[in-house]
C-alpha cells in the first residue's frame, strides 16, 4: 500500500476544490484594508524627503497645524519618549527621519486630518530646511573608496535577524554572507573550460495592486492595527518593542490582501501610522500611493562577478561568485535576501569547490526587501547562463551537462544544511520535453532550460486551532494571510480530510493576533507546508477525540451532530484541537532550509535581430510540490510566478537618477498584461511526496519566477545573444547584437 492510500482515506486531498473565497471576491464584497472604516477615523499622509541624503536643519510645522481640519502633525520630535528605531534584521530605521534623511521618499513628518485634502494641504505647509550631503546613489558610488556613509555608529540586530552573529558594518556593507567548499582556485588551475563575466540585475517593483494600507488606533494602552501585512505576528512584535508594550497589548488584524509577493512582509507603514494615531488620539488610516509603495520596498538591484570551470569530460569543477545587493538606505530584509542569493549562487551542482561572497550594501535609495523568489531570481539567470556557455565550449548538450552534474536527492547543497529533497534531473527533463527540446528550430528561435533551488520555509514555527462545532461545521484559527495563494481553501481541504467532513463545512478566516494562534509569517512558500502541518495536527487531534466519542460507530459528515450531542448533550459544545510545528534544532538559517524549493523551467523565445525585440513563445515550469493538495491552485500559483518572471526578464526595471526613482508610476514602470502571455505557458506538477508538509507536500509558487527569468535568458543566448544585464529590453539586446557583430561572433 502506498503512502497515499494509507493517508488519504477521505478523498479531500488532490482535488481541485473551488476557491472558498471566490464568490466574495468576484462580487466585490471581499474587504481589504482600504475598505475598512473606524468611527472618527482620520486620514493620514506622510511628508517624504525630496532629497537623497541631507541633514535636517529645521522642521517648521506651525503653518501646517493651522490648516483647517488638521488634527495633528507628527515629527521625529514627538517620539522622544520611546526608542524610535525599528527593523527586523537590523534596527536601523527611525519611525520618522531623525537628524538626517537617507533616501528620496523617506518619511520626514506626517499629518492626520479629517479629510485627505486637508492632510495634503498641511503637508504642503510644512517647511523643512535640508543641508544636502554627498550621495551614494548606486552600488558603485556606495562601494567606492571614500564613499559617503549612509549609516554611522554601531549596528543593532533586529528581533528577527536570524542569521547568526551580526558583524560590524564595513563601510556601507551592512552584512556579508560567505559559503565555501574545497579549494576553488585549484579547480580553475586544472580546468579545460573557464567562463567569466560581470552581470547586472535591476531593482524591480512587486506591484501588489493594493498599496500598503494601515488603519491604526491607540486606546487605553492598547494598539490595534488593521494592516495589509503578510506577517501579522512579526508586526505585532515590532510594534510592541517599539512602543514598549506587552505583546498581548498589540492587536494586528489582517483582512484580505490585494497581492503581496513579499512587498508586505515584515513591518512597513505600521510604525508611522501607529505613531500618528497615538498623537491624534483617534483612529488614523494611511494608504500609500503607488510611488510611495515603490519607495517603501522593492526587489534589490544587484551586481555580480562570476566565473565557472569545467573539465574536458563535461564535469563542472568550480565556481567563484562575488555579488553585491543594493539594500537601499535601510536593511529591511536585505541580509536574508543576500544570504538566500548566496545559497542560490553555486546552483545545485556537484561542484568540487566553490566560494561565494555576497554583500548587502547600503545606498541612498529607497529600501529593498523581499520579492517572490528573492536570491534565486538574482543569481539563477547568471549561473545557468555560465553552465550553458561551458556546455557550448565543450560541444555538449546543455541538458546532458545538467544530467551529468546536477545533485541527486540526499546530496549536500550547503554544508550543515538540509540535503537535496527533490529530483532535479527528472524535473528539468520534463520541462525541456514540454518546449520541444531537441526538435528542429526555426531561424532566430532559441530554447533554454534553467535549474535552481530556493531556500524556502523561513523559520519553522506555526500553530493552529481547529474547532468542531456542535452543528458539524468547523472553524480554523490560523495566522496565515490570504494573499491570493488560496491558503484558506487548502486548509479547508486538509481539515476535511482529517476530520471527515466536507470542505464546505470548514471556515478559515484571517489573522487577528488577539485570537489567532501564533504563525511566524506568510511567505517563503511556507503556508501549506508549515501552517498546513499545524492545521493537519490540530484537525487530527479533533478526529482522535471524535473517534473516542464514537467508540467504533461510523463517523460521517451527517452523523457528527449526534456524536457531538453524545458528548455535550443538547446544549452544544466544541471539540478543540491544537496543532504545533516547532523547529527540531534552533531553526536557524544555517540548519535550514525547511525544504529546497525547486526552480526549474524552460523557455522558447523568438528574436527579431533587426529590432532586438524578444518574444516568449513557450514556457514550461515545474511545480515540484511533493503532493498537490489542490492541483489547479498549484498551477495557478505557478503561472503567476511565471509571468512575473517574464516581466523581470524582459522589461521590469526601476530606473534611478541620483538615488531618485525616475519611473515611479505605472505609466513608466511596465508590468505584464494579457498581451505578454506566452503562446504556450505550461505548469508541470510533480508529486514525489518528498516534502516535510502534510501528505508529503512542500511549497510552490516562487520557483517558477526565478526559473522563468533564467530560462528566457538561456533561451536568448541559445538564439545567439548572451546578455549580462537585465531586463532584456529591445535597445539593450539590439546593442548587444551590434557588439557581437563588431567582434565577429554574431552567428546568425
Amino acid at each position: 500500500m502506498t503512502l497515499s492510500e494509507v493517508e488519504l482515506r477521505r478523498g479531500a486531498i488532490g482535488v481541485s476544490e473551488p476557491r472558498a473565497d471566490a464568490a466574495e471576491k468576484l462580487r466585490g464584497q471581499a474587504q481589504f484594508a482600504g475598505d475598512l472604516l473606524a468611527p472618527r477615523m482620520l486620514h493620514g499622509k506622510v511628508l517624504r524627503s525630496p532629497v537623497a541624503h541631507a541633514r535636517i536643519v529645521s522642521i517648521d510645522t506651525a503653518a501646517a497645524e493651522a490648516v483647517p481640519l488638521v488634527a495633528c502633525v507628527l515629527t521625529g520630535a514627538d517620539l522622544d519618549d520611546i526608542n524610535p528605531y525599528w527593523g527586523h534584521s537590523i534596527k536601523d530605521r527611525p519611525v520618522l527621519a531623525l537628524g538626517k534623511v537617507r533616501f528620496p521618499g523617506e518619511p520626514v513628518a506626517a499629518v492626520a486630518a479629517e479629510t485627505e485634502e486637508a492632510a495634503e494641504a498641511a503637508l504642503r505647509a510644512i517647511r523643512v530646511e535640508y543641508e544636502e550631503l554627498p550621495v551614494a546613489g548606486s552600488l558603485e558610488e556606495a562601494l567606492a573608496p571614500g564613499a559617503p556613509l549612509v549609516h554611522e555608529g554601531p549596528q543593532e540586530p533586529g528581533l528577527f535577524h536570524g542569521l547568526g552573529q551580526l558583524p560590524e558594518r564595513d563601510g556601507n556593507v551592512c552584512y556579508r554572507y560567505r559559503i565555501e567548499r574545497g579549494e576553488v582556485e585549484a579547480t580553475f588551475a586544472h580546468a579545460e573550460h573557464v567562463v567569466e563575466g560581470e552581470y547586472v540585475f535591476p531593482g524591480t517593483y512587486q506591484y501588489a495592486l493594493e498599496t500598503h494600507t494601515v488603519l491604526a488606533e491607540v486606546r487605553d494602552g492598547e494598539i490595534t492595527v488593521w494592516a495589509s501585512c503578510q506577517h501579522p505576528f512579526l508586526v505585532r512584535a515590532e510594534l510592541a518593542a517599539l512602543f514598549e508594550l506587552p505583546l498581548a497589548s498589540v492587536r494586528v488584524i489582517v483582512p484580505y490582501l490585494g497581492g503581496g509577493f513579499g512587498s508586505k512582509s515584515y513591518t512597513k507603514m505600521e510604525p508611522v501610522t501607529v505613531a500618528l494615531a497615538r498623537k491624534a488620539r483617534r483612529p488614523v488610516r494611511v494608504q500609500n500611493r503607488v510611488d510611495e509603495s515603490m519607495a517603501t520596498t522593492r526587489r534589490h538591484g544587484m551586481r555580480c562577478r562570476m566565473r565557472s570551470a569545467m573539465n574536458a569530460e563535461g564535469r563542472l569543477l568550480g565556481r567563484q561568485v562575488e555579488c553585491w545587493f543594493d539594500t537601499g538606505a535601510y536593511a529591511d530584509n536585505g541580509p536574508r535576501v543576500t544570504a538566500t542569493g548566496g545559497d542560490a549562487a553555486p546552483g545545485p551542482y556537484r561542484w568540487e569547490a566553490f566560494r561565494v561572497v555576497a554583500d548587502c550594501v547600503y545606498t541612498n535609495t529607497a529600501p529593498s526587501g523581499s520579492y517572490r523568489a528573492f536570491g534565486a531570481t538574482h543569481l539563477q539567470w547568471i549561473g545557468e547562463q555560465q553552465v550553458d556557455e561551458l556546455a557550448r565550449l565543450a560541444g555538449l548538450d546543455p541538458l546532458d551537462v545538467r544530467r551529468q552534474n546536477l545533485c541527486l536527492p540526499g546530496e549536500e547543497i550547503r554544508q550543515g544544511g538540509k540535503p537535496l529533497d527533490a529530483d532535479l534531473v527528472g524535473d528539468v527533463e520534463k520541462a525541456a520535453a514540454k518546449i520541444g527540446w531537441g526538435e528542429p528550430k526555426p531561424a532566430n528561435v532559441g530554447r533554454g532550460v534553467s535549474v535552481g533551488l530556493l531556500a524556502a520555509g523561513a523559520h519553522p514555527v506555526s500553530t493552529a486551532v481547529v474547532k468542531l462545532e456542535a452543528d458539524a461545521n468547523v472553524v480554523v484559527l490560523v495566522g496565515t494571510t490570504e494573499v491570493g495563494q488560496g491558503a484558506r481553501t487548502v486548509f479547508a481541504q486538509i481539515v476535511a480530510e482529517e476530520i471527515g467532513v466536507r470542505p464546505d463545512q470548514v471556515t478559515v478566516r484571517g489573522a487577528d493576533t488577539r485570537f489567532t494562534p501564533y504563525d511566524r509569517s506568510t511567505g517563503a512558500s511556507r503556508s501549506t507546508t508549515l501552517a498546513g502541518l499545524a492545521v493537519q495536527r490540530a484537525a487530527a487531534s479533533v478526529r482522535a477525540e471524535l473517534e473516542e466519542i464514537a467508540a467504533g460507530d461510523p463517523i460521517e459528515p451527517d452523523s457528527i451532530t449526534s456524536l457531538m450531542a453524545r458528548r455535550f448533550g443538547l446544549a452544544g459544545g466544541e471539540l478543540i484541537g491544537h496543532g504545533e510545528v516547532a523547529p527540531a534544532g534552533t531553526g536557524s538559517y544555517a540548519e535550514g532550509p525547511v525544504f529546497w524549493e525547486v526552480c526549474v523551467g524552460a523557455a522558447e523565445v523568438e528574436l527579431d535581430p533587426d529590432t532586438g525585440i524578444v518574444r516568449v513563445r513557450k514556457t514550461a515550469t515545474v511545480a515540484d510540490v511533493g503532493k498537490a493538495i489542490n492541483p489547479l491552485l498549484v498551477e495557478r500559483q505557478d503561472e503567476g510566478g511565471t509571468l512575473q518572471g517574464l516581466g523581470n526578464a524582459l522589461f521590469e526595471e526601476i530606473v534611478f537618477d541620483g538615488g531618485h526613482i525616475a519611473n515611479d508610476t505605472l505609466l513608466e514602470y511596465r508590468v505584464p498584461s494579457l498581451v505578454d502571455v506566452p503562446d504556450e505557458m505550461t505548469c508541470i506538477v510533480v508529486e514525489n511526496e518528498d516534502g516535510p508538509g502534510p501528505y508529503g507536500a512542500k511549497g510552490c509558487g516562487e520557483g517558477s519566477l526565478a526559473a522563468t527569468t533564467a530560462a528566457i535568458v538561456t533561451a536568448l543566448a541559445d538564439a545567439g545573444v548572451p546578455m549580462n544585464e537585465l531586463p532584456l529590453t529591445p535597445e539593450r539586446v539590439w546593442r548587444r547584437i551590434q557588439e557581437l557583430k563588431e567582434v565577429g561572433t554574431w552567428q546568425r
Partner: protein, 153 residues
C-alpha cells in the same frame, strides 16, 4: 453642483463638488468599495466601472460626468442574471486569486461580451490588456473569458 444619474439601476439625484472623482464618490459617499484604487493613472484598471455600458477608469473620471448617464458597479453587476455565468466561469477556472483586480475585470468582460468585442483570442488579449492582474499570469482569465465568449480552443 447637482447631478442625476442611475446607479446600478436606481435613479439618483445628488449634490457633489465639481472636482469630486467618481472613484471617491463611489467608495466614500456611496460605500461601494468594489472599485479599487491602485495606479491612479489609468493603467491598472482596478477602478473600472461602466458608464453607459462602457468601461471607464473611475480614478480619472469626474463624478460630474456621470450626470444623465447610467452607472454600473460590481455591486450592481453581481445582482444581474448575467452574473451567474461570469461567476461560474471564473470560479471553475480559478481565475481569481487576491481578488483586488477581479471586480473591475468582470465589468470589462461584461461590457465586451455585450458589445461583441471578444471574437478571437487576439482580440480578447488586446481588449483585456487594460486590466492588470499581478497574481494569475492571466492564463486562467484567458480560459474563463474564452469560454464565456464561445472562443474556447
Amino acid at each position: 453642483m447637482e447631478i442625476s444619474f442611475t446607479l446600478n439601476g436606481a435613479s439618483r439625484r445628488t449634490t457633489i463638488a465639481p472636482n469630486r472623482l467618481l472613484l471617491d464618490f463611489l467608495r466614500e459617499d456611496e460605500g461601494l468599495t468594489g472599485a479599487k484604487r491602485s495606479c491612479e493613472v489609468q493603467v491598472c484598471g482596478a477602478c473600472t466601472v461602466l458608464l453607459d455600458s462602457l468601461p471607464v477608469s473611475s480614478c480619472c473620471t469626474l463624478a460630474a460626468d456621470a450626470d444623465g448617464r447610467h452607472l454600473l458597479t460590481i455591486e450592481g453587476l453581481a445582482e444581474l442574471p448575467e452574473f451567474a455565468r461570469l461567476e461560474e466561469a471564473f470560479t471553475s477556472h480559478a481565475a481569481v486569486q487576491c481578488g483586488f483586480c477581479t471586480p473591475a475585470l468582470l465589468l470589462t468582460v461584461h461590457s465586451l461580451l455585450a458589445a461583441g468585442g471578444l471574437h478571437d483570442e487576439a482580440e480578447l488579449r488586446r481588449n483585456l490588456a487594460g486590466n492588470i492582474c499581478r497574481c494569475t499570469g492571466y492564463k486562467s482569465i484567458l480560459e474563463a473569458v474564452s469560454e464565456l465568449a464561445g472562443t474556447f480552443a
